[in-house]
């Protein structure tokens, strides 16, 4: 039986039958599961003369470096994706951010952009008041091709003046949008039309040129695909837009004047509500990462892979200047393109390495949360008389510094339900939401069959099942411990 057939069989049998086999073996502690099952399908290549599974010692299907740092294929540098260059650029995909539709008007792509106050759901049920465009924060993505002429009709629905800046474009100065230097403001309720030719390619963005409106969330992608698709072609073109806000406790309005930032969003969502990037094993993946935080730079780290930095917001970098990295510092208003061959299956965390950005609104770890047998519910049960504090301290407090690990974090069942409602997270470990916080998301590299199970099937997938299957195929299942079931 071919691998393709095996995969098909896996899907046909349904996850309850097929997945139950591997899931119960792994999660149920079956003794037989202590031995690796040797029927894992190995990846196959489409029929193509240009595609290989190995290039000069670099495998697109397993972690590897290659044999020669000077090789074009070192760490997958020029290893092509499965997609053909002739098929045009891979569609740009920024999870949770809509695309802006356009109409053609005599060869001009016409977009309508509306600056406005919006309500953005950072976390399930946690709706924050920010500014954005067309009901969205970040604003919808403008996606065009090099050489297009665009007309952008901006109608200001804010109760105050605004300016639109097309960040990075070499356009006629009258359309640049620098507040009052080049144009008068767009008054509330008024419309201004911007029209220019686009000769660039790359990762751009549009934003208000009023500082506090920027800090309040007004930004959106402006992706220009090259007229001639760059080689090597990529299969995935993801976008992650990082932002910070300061929203005080019990509040929903961002304080754009703050010097401290306690809410961190990727494409308008905060971990674990960020939507994972899902790709197939062996694909060539590009991630465009734009840091539009008001004043925080982000050292962004991808686990399990080494990526090439192939471009910034200015332009594609000549291949000779590409840099391989695990961690790329992306400054304010900078965008970086990461390219990699997804040769290491699994759920790989993709996060800013700043400690304070790895969670939302860090709070001091004191109070009932770290005390034995104390809970906030006891306080909430009777506001008139508070429970007596138990001053006896366990021996844990003899260790200076205790506790450093966040304790007693609570997530409601509604919260967890919303987190698990998205197809992109199906089959992840049961307590993944405990680890993905703040400026964090996940790159999921899945074998074809698991990709189809997660992204295309309607079947129920048990929490942890897909992860366990990856461990079974590519890892050491005898050493694997499933995640304890949480409140779900």
């Amino acid at each position: 039986m071919s691998n393709t057939e095996q995969r098909r069989g896996f899907l046909k049998a349904g996850s309850i039958a097929a997945a139950t086999g591997f899931v119960s073996n792994l999660l149920g502690g079956n003794a037989a599961a202590q031995h690796p099952i040797l029927n894992s399908p190995s990846p196959t290549l489409p029929d193509s003369p240009t595609l290989n599974s190995e290039y000069d010692g670099f495998s697109r299907f397993k972690p590897s470096r290659g044999l020669d740092p000077d090789s074009d294929y070192y760490i997958g540098k020029l290893v092509p994706g499965f997609r053909k260059a002739s098929d045009g650029p891979a569609p740009f995909e920024a999870p949770d951010v809509p695309k802006m539709p356009y109409k053609m008007d005599g060869g001009v792509k016409v977009f309508e952009l509306v600056p406005m106050a919006v309500e953005q759901e950072f976390h399930p049920g946690v709706k924050m008041n920010v500014y954005g465009y067309n009901g969205s924060m970040p604003g919808p993505t403008i996606e065009v091709t090099q050489g297009d002429r665009v007309r952008i009709i901006v109608t200001n629905e804010l109760p105050e003046d605004t300016f639109m800046h097309w960040h990075g474009f070499e356009l006629p100065v009258q359309y640049d949008g620098a507040a009052t230097l080049t144009q008068n403001p767009i008054k509330p309720g008024k419309t201004k039309v911007f029209e220019f030719d686009i000769h660039e390619e790359g990762t751009f963005f549009y934003h208000s040129h009023v500082a506090m409106q920027e800090a309040f969330g007004q930004v959106g992608w402006f992706i220009v695909h090259p007229k001639k698709v760059f080689g090597p072609p990529v299969d995935r073109d993801f976008g992650l837009l990082f932002q910070n806000f300061h929203i005080p406790p019990t509040h929903t309005i961002s304080d754009s004047w703050a010097m401290d930032w306690n809410w961190h969003t990727i494409n308008g969502k905060s971990g674990p509500y960020t939507t994972p990037l899902v790709c197939k094993h062996g694909e060539r993946v590009r991630v465009r990462l734009l840091n539009f935080s008001p004043m925080q730079h982000h050292p962004v780290h991808l686990h399990g892979h080494t990526f090439w930095v192939t471009g910034h917001e200015g332009a594609r970098i000549p291949k000779s200047a590409w840099v391989p990295r695990n961690n790329e510092l992306v400054g304010v208003a900078q965008a970086s393109c990461f390219e990699l061959i997804a040769n290491n299956p699994g759920d790989w965390i993709f996060h800013c390495h700043m400690v304070h950005h790895m969670m939302n609104h860090m709070v001091k770890q004191v109070g009932p949360r770290i005390r034995d047998d104390a809970s906030v519910d006891q306080y909430l049960a009777n506001l008139s008389s508070r429970p007596q504090v138990d001053a006896s301290r366990s021996a844990k407090f003899d260790v200076p510094g205790y506790p450093q690990k966040m304790q007693g974090m609570e997530m409601s069942s509604d919260f967890m339900k919303a987190i698990w409602s998205r197809k992109e997270v199906r089959g992840m470990r049961a307590n993944y939401p405990m680890s993905v916080k703040g400026l964090m998301t996940v790159l999921r590299v899945l074998p074809d069959d698991l990709y189809d199970l997660v992204m295309n099937s309607d079947q129920d997938v048990e929490k942890g099942a897909v992860f366990a299957e990856i461990v079974r195929r590519f890892g050491d299942p005898s050493k694997y411990e499933a995640a304890p079931k949480m409140m779900m």
């Binding site: 006891q378 306080y379 508070r386």
Partner: protein
């Protein structure tokens, strides 16, 4: 216990080998409880938990669940503890306060005086022997010309006795008003001291809540210290705050006992420490200043007594005005005339001639006393007005403050506390911020109680004709200027 363990690890601050700044030094220990706190709380030195009603706090009360829903524990203050109510104390005071009896006795004393003043003068029996030893024919050294007995009777004129009796009856009437005033003094004092005791008791409860918050703050400071987020001086500061909160509880306890004992003293019974129960929040509509003034000017027993005294003084004047009218003193009797050697009769009538003394000085004095009393009424009205201005201002200010604490500030503080608790639960704020809100909430309730105490004590005075001082001796009806110069009251 925690404090013992911490003490054991504490290096001496004076030690030259102090490890501060070199390696981990445990946080300063909790201060031990001040003298007297153990008596309040048998459960441990750190956290006094005994409630005033004698029930115990658990270490940490576990939430109660019924059908999966948490049931809010009722706040101990809202639990209606069976205790002494205001009505109980008023009844007891009516029976036992000595000044009320004193006041009643004053009335009886005046009526007795009236009785005495109206009694008719007694007749006088005279023996008369005239010219004893005079020589008469045939008898040298005779027994005298006349030997006999006469009876003298003073006939009181001009209704003097009736006027005297009326005068003292009117003074008895004054005493009745004064007795009424005394009753108000006592009842008002009972009410004032009752509300003070009630407020003191609520303050004890709130001080204990604030103590629990201070205890939590002390624990929290040590937790923060353990994470490098609080300095040793900050931890020490939390110890100071804890100790102050403990002392506040002790003061509140002492104050409650004082209030209760003062209340019991007014009532006039010997009671051991007990619990008062009632509601500090006034039930009726607030009184306007015009209503309050009109009430006191029309119904004040003090003013009524002053007016009654004016009537008594009018009678006094009438009485003095007839004093000069001479009484007729008639004398009559029989005897033996040794000269005539026959029985003869004697008779005489005397009348004082008001030539020089027409009682004009005393009449003048009575007239002046009468006018003085007119001024006394005015003085009393003005004095009540002045007192009312002060008391009403305190009543109004306290009522405005307490009402707004009740209507806005406490609900807002409660919501702030609740929202921060929920925020803490959602990992959005840290515990010290919650503790601050908790302290604000409890503290605002404390302020509310303090102002309600002011509202109730001043309200009692406003509605009770400004009378207080229920243990001052009950005054008599005769202020300076009365005429009681003779043995026989007139």
């Amino acid at each position: 216990m925690f404090c013992t363990a911490a003490s054991a690890q504490m290096p001496s601050v004076d030690s030259p080998a102090s490890a501060i700044g070199r390696t981990f030094t445990p946080p300063p220990p909790m201060p031990s409880a001040p003298y007297g706190l153990e008596q309040l709380d048998p459960s441990g030195p750190l956290f006094p938990g005994a409630r005033i009603d004698g029930s115990d706090f658990g270490g940490t009360p576990a939430p109660v669940y019924v059908d999966g829903e948490m049931i809010a524990e009722q706040f101990s203050m809202e639990t209606e503890v069976q205790g002494y109510r205001l009505e109980d104390f008023l009844t007891l005071a009516a029976q036992n306060n000595p000044t009320i009896r004193q006041a009643r006795l004053q009335i009886s004393a005046q009526t007795a005086k009236a009785l005495q003043a109206g009694l008719y003068p007694n007749p006088t029996l005279n023996y008369i022997g005239e010219q004893i030893g005079v020589d008469v024919e045939g008898d040298k050294d005779s027994p005298g010309e006349f030997q006999g007995m006469t009876v003298t009777q003073r006939f009181v004129t001009a209704g003097k006795l009736k006027l005297s009796r009326e005068k003292y009856m009117r003074r008895a009437h004054v005493s009745e008003h004064l007795a009424m005033a005394q009753q108000f003094r006592v009842c008002n004092d009972v009410r004032i001291h009752f509300f003070r005791a009630l407020a003191a008791r609520e303050i004890v409860e709130l001080r204990k809540e604030l103590l629990k918050t201070a205890e939590d703050s002390a624990v929290t400071a040590r937790e923060l210290y353990n994470q490098g987020q609080a300095t040793r001086p900050q931890v020490r500061k939390s110890s100071i705050a804890l100790q102050r909160a403990r002392l506040d509880v002790l003061s509140a306890e002492n104050h409650y006992r004082e209030s209760f004992r003062r209340l019991v003293a007014i009532v006039g019974v010997d009671l051991t420490d007990g619990v008062v129960s009632g509601d500090l929040m006034p039930q009726g509509e607030p009184l306007s200043y015009q209503e309050a003034m009109s009430l006191v000017l029309t119904e004040s027993p003090e003013l009524a007594a002053a007016r009654a005294k004016l009537a008594a003084d009018r009678v006094t004047l009438s009485r003095e005005q007839v004093e000069w009218v001479p009484d007729i003193v008639a004398e009559g009797g029989a005897g033996y005339n040794f000269e005539a050697k026959e029985t003869t009769a004697a008779a005489g009538v005397s009348i004082e001639l008001p030539v020089f003394d027409r009682n004009q000085g005393t009449i003048r004095q009575a007239q002046l006393d009468y006018r003085r009393q007119q001024e006394e009424i005015r003085r009393t009205e003005l004095m009540l007005g002045q007192q009312m201005a002060n008391v009403y201002q305190q009543y109004l200010t306290a009522l405005q403050i307490a009402t707004e604490y009740d209507r806005v500030i406490i609900p807002e503080a409660r919501l702030a506390y609740q929202e921060l608790l929920e925020s803490y639960k959602a990992n959005r704020v840290d515990w010290p911020t919650v503790l601050d809100a908790q302290m604000d909430y409890f503290d605002s309730r404390l302020t509310r109680v303090q102002h309600l105490e002011q509202v109730r004590t001043n309200e009692v005075l406003v509605r009770g004709y400004l009378l207080h001082g229920g243990l001052m001796a009950a005054p008599g009806p005769t202020p300076p200027g009365h005429i009681d110069a003779v043995a026989k009251p007139r």
